[in-house]
């Protein structure tokens, strides 16, 4: 099929940026979206044009590196998939596809479709960890955990940190990411010792970079891992509880 791409080109943070149109003829429907971009880039290189910069790594929906706003939808039109899992069979001959980078103040622009998502690392550094005793690996299943709790924590742990929630949010908020990173530790026994300091540290760090959640629900709709807004409620509740908490009774949770 023959497509037209409308791609955001911006040489760097200082550049104003603009859309440019590239014809993409002869695209096969079994290609992935990123393979299509590779082919366009190869042709651009041969034509002496600077290729389009975009982020990608695993190309199987687990690393969270890829992330494009495709026709106004984060990660494109498919539900519960990352950009790298989107395939060209979605499109038809003659389609024009608009591709933009994530836009949010917390994600400064680097080049073309690439943004700086290190703010996420700062939030995880602030509280997204647990303390364990070093030494030989403990036996599996040494700590009994109810099945529901383990599965629910796993739902949160599915977050790949791609930033689609921020990109989707009309407020540029990162509440869904932080809630997922907070919850997958705080729902499990191993995460209890730092639970209350984690709630405060992660939220306070988040607020350096990102906007505030007003419960639009766009993040949940955009998330390639279908992470639920329920985790945001848990984060909000634990933040206020962290303020109240008599920390000497932390073990009583």
């Amino acid at each position: 099929m023959d497509l037209t791409l409308r791609v955001w080109r911006q040489s760097g943070p200082g550049d104003k940026g603009r859309f440019e149109e590239y014809p993409a003829p002869g695209i096969a429907s079994h290609m992935s979206f990123l393979e299509m971009l590779d082919i366009v880039n190869e042709r651009l290189t041969l034509a002496g044009v600077e290729p389009i910069a975009f982020d990608h790594d695993c190309r199987e929906g687990i690393c969270g590196t890829c992330g494009l706003m495709i026709d106004g939808r984060p990660h494109g039109p498919w539900e519960g998939t990352a950009t790298c899992q989107l395939h060209m069979r979605e499109y038809h001959d003659g389609d024009t596809i608009t591709i933009e980078p994530w836009r949010a103040k917390g994600f400064p622009h680097i080049k073309d479709l690439v943004v700086d998502r290190r703010a996420f690392d700062r939030i995880v550094e602030a509280g997204g960890y647990i303390t364990v005793s070093a030494g030989s690996a403990p036996d599996a299943n040494l700590i009994p955990i109810p099945k529901e709790a383990a599965e629910y924590a796993m739902d949160a742990a599915a977050c790949i940190g791609c930033g689609a929630c921020v990109a989707a949010c009309p407020n540029g908020a990162a509440q869904l990411f932080v809630a997922a990173k907070y919850s997958h530790l705080s729902l499990l026994p191993q995460g209890q010792p730092e639970r209350w300091s984690r709630a405060e540290a992660m939220v306070d760090t988040m607020e350096h970079y990102f906007g505030s959640c007003s419960n639009h629900g766009e993040c949940e709709a955009a998330c390639p891992k279908n992470i639920s807004l329920d985790f945001i409620a848990l984060l909000n509740r634990d933040y206020i509880r962290a303020k109240w908490k008599n920390r000497r009774l932390a073990g009583q949770s």
């Binding site: 859309f19 706003m69 700086d116 009309p170 760090t205 350096h208 206020i240």
Partner: protein
């Protein structure tokens, strides 16, 4: 950018520190919103007495001043409630304004194309709907509490004042439109407040939406029935 930054150090009295954070402001917005919803509901139910008889609603208005009976001096309890409402309204508006400005700053660049999948008209018009509602509340107080509305106003005669005010068609329409906007505002707010204060349980999450539908429908239908009844000549 993105050098390592330390979390904000919060040193003041814990509640002020909490209010300084965006999550804290959302919590305050939810709690004050709940107070205002409670007030709206009581206000609407009280005004239903208009359908009983002019004496019934006028006596109801008078008994509000006697709240607390002989336990407190006359009108004191009413004033405490009024001050509570003013404080709740102030914090509701303050947190809304601050957060809106923060959110605008956090999303400076627009997308060329954007299809919303979950955000709805209600959630996206909270701030401007809120501004219009606030302006309406000022008008409403001037009209029927302070008596600046132009219609012949007699203090302590809510029935006659209401009828006089609502029989002017533009005023009646303004009340109806403002209340419909209020309904849209409540529809998002009455659901959203559960998320903001962290009340979330799969057993009743479905119920939170129904609560929002129900509360906005009951308040709006009750409120707009008054100008409609006056205009239709059912009450007058």
């Amino acid at each position: 950018m993105t050098t390592t930054r330390q979390p904000i150090t919060r040193r003041r009295f814990w509640f002020f520190e909490f209010y300084r954070s965006a999550v804290g402001k959302k919590w305050v917005m939810a709690v004050t919103g709940l107070i205002l919803i409670g007030y709206l509901l009581a206000h609407m139910v009280g005004n239903l007495k208009m359908y009983l008889s002019p004496e019934a609603i006028n006596a109801y208005g008078e008994s509000l001043r006697d709240l607390g009976g002989h336990l407190v001096p006359r009108t004191h309890l009413l004033w405490i409630m009024r001050i509570g409402l003013v404080v709740a309204t102030y914090f509701h508006l303050h947190s809304a304004t601050t957060l809106t400005l923060l959110n605008r700053r956090s999303r400076p660049d627009k997308y060329d194309e954007r299809h919303y999948a979950a955000a709805n008209y209600a959630s996206r018009t909270m701030i401007w709907g809120g501004v219009i509602i606030a302006a309406f509340v000022v008008f409403h107080l001037a009209d029927l509490t302070w008596g600046w509305g132009g219609a012949e106003f007699v203090r302590g005669m809510p029935y006659e004042n209401m009828v006089a005010s609502f029989s002017r068609l533009p005023v009646a329409l303004f009340y109806i439109i403002a209340n419909l906007l209020l309904g849209v505002h409540l529809y998002h707010g009455a659901w959203s407040l559960f998320q903001s204060i962290g009340i979330n349980n799969p057993r009743f999450n479905e119920w939170r939406r129904w609560f929002a539908y129900g509360i906005s429908a009951v308040i709006v239908i009750g409120n707009i029935s008054f100008p409609i009844a006056v205009q239709a000549g059912i009450v007058g």
